[in-house]
Amino acid sequence: MTHPMIQFDKVLKAYGALQVLKDLDFSVDNGEVVSIIGPSGSGKTTVLRVLMTLEGIQGGTMYVNGEPLNKMNVDGQLVDASKAHIRRIRSKIGMVFQSFNLFPHMTALDNCNESPIHTQGKSKAEATEESMRLLEMVGLAEKANHYPSQLSGGQQQRVAIARTLAMHPEILLFDEPTSALDPEMVGEVLEVIRDLAKSGDYTMLLVTHQMGFAREVSDRVCFFDGGKMVEQGKPDDLFGNPQHDRLKQFLSKVLEAG
């Protein structure tokens, strides 16, 4: 029996009276690359943040590869998950942040080594070997001993991607990974993400404002507005032949802005 890799079942997220996600049903298959687009305040980033357990939800259940994340099975009943359970399921998910969130007091290499050594219990030599391979992959092997403050924004984001890959996630979440970058650095980061998407090794969920990139790399694009998924489909269908007025308006505004 195959499960979707990610499944949201009537997920409700609210800040007080403000509902950010309204009974969201949503799923992503294993190996699928899905982009989420939408205006600000549409709840698109919240989808990633609740899945990463950065924020709690008020209702519904999230599943990762068929296993509940915010709940757990006890004698056939779904009860609120223990911290240990959340940590076990969460180990499958990695996240790349808009503002990188590298640890400023550690070198690029130490950033990558942190999780393998201190949560997976790998030896330093083993972790370093793998981290160097990952830094090589993102084109920054020679910057391994540099601190984040010595790297450009684009380089920092590539280190952050390597750091995330070092924890061997099955799911990669990208939260507007190029929004905080100067325009000339966007390309180098997108290139790395493109390679990851093509590899087919990861289930990827990407929140982005780069419509062209979303169209290029995604298997599916979802349009969010007002805490709901309004429309989804293959990139060419969604961008080429939008159905809902809200999506049409959104796309025309985005294209107008260039």
């Binding site: 990463m52 357990t53 950065l54 940590r87 969460r90 180990s91 998910i93 990695g94 996240m95 942040f97 503002s99 990188f100 969130n101 590298l102 640890f103 400023p104 007091h105 070198t107 942190e114 999780s115 201190h118 949560t119 020679e142 001993n145 540099h146 601190y147 984040p148 403050s149 010595q150 920092q156 750091r163 995330t164 924890m167 979440l173």
Partner: protein
């Protein structure tokens, strides 16, 4: 390939180093002045300077021991204040509020005069160090708490995304960055603490202040005696300030461009 060389913006480092050099110059000048004055008015000073310097030794002893207790209590209760564990959090809040809310002298007298009623008789030194350390620890707790809270939220989020255990999160990511933030506040409190050691003269410890009062009652050289007394405290304060700046430079050398 660029070697991982000096990390700060060069201007920043120079600026800091310039300030430190300035401090060293001021402190050295003061010490030279102090020694010079000793010789210039040798006959006058000879009478009371040894007693005051003997007091200075006591002040330094009390200061060092109190600072150790102060740092310990600050960190313990500052972290405890943010603990998810309710009894630990409440105990920390209780300690912080009580020892910040009362006056140091009251705490000192309480240690010295009331503790014996409970069967615990403290020597003047122990009473002084305990009172000062506990009092300043309560203030330091707020500095530690504020510094931990000032570590950007994204750092904690990154540790969650990397699936790190809460205790590793604190010791490996949050505290190392919080230390850099708390140094100026803690160094200011340390200076205040050294000044506050003057109060131990109330429980019969002969520190600089006590010695100065004694010597003044013997010799009536108010201006000289108190000028030297204040100068000594001033020099101690400058040493702490200098040390604090050096530490801050050390801890922030990679953090110049916060991200």
């Amino acid at each position: 390939m660029k070697e991982p060389g000096p990390t700060n913006g060069p201007g920043n480092t120079k600026h800091l180093r310039g300030m430190s050099m300035n401090r060293i110059a001021i402190v050295s000048a003061l010490i030279a002045f102090l020694v010079g004055m000793t010789f210039a008015t040798f006959s006058e000073m000879r009478v009371f300077l040894p007693a005051i310097l003997k007091g200075a030794v006591v002040t330094v002893q009390v200061s060092i021991l109190s600072i150790a207790l102060f740092l310990f209590m600050s960190v313990i209760s500052g972290i405890g204040r943010l603990s998810a564990n309710r009894p630990i959090r409440w105990a920390s809040i209780f300690y912080i509020e009580v020892f910040r809310g009362t006056s140091l002298l009251v705490i000192l007298f309480w240690m010295f005069f009331v503790m014996p009623e409970f069967g615990v008789t403290l020597s003047p030194m122990v009473a002084g160090v305990t009172a000062i350390g506990l009092n300043f620890g309560a203030y330091g707790a707020e500095v530690v708490r504020g510094a931990i809270a000032a570590v950007p939220k994204g750092q904690t989020e990154a540790t969650i995304a990397l699936n790190m255990a809460p205790y590793k999160r604190l010791t490996r990511i949050v505290l190392p960055q919080a230390i850099a933030i708390m140094i100026p506040g803690m160094s200011n409190l340390t200076i205040e603490l050294i000044k506050a050691t003057a109060l131990v003269s109330a429980v019969t410890l002969v520190d600089i202040t006590y010695a100065a009062v004694q010597q003044n009652q013997l010799h009536y050289r108010t201006v000289e005696i108190f000028f030297i007394t204040m100068l000594l405290y001033y020099v101690f304060a400058q040493f702490v300030r200098f040390g604090g700046e050096a530490l801050e430079e050390h801890y922030t050398r990679h953090l110049s461009k916060r991200v």
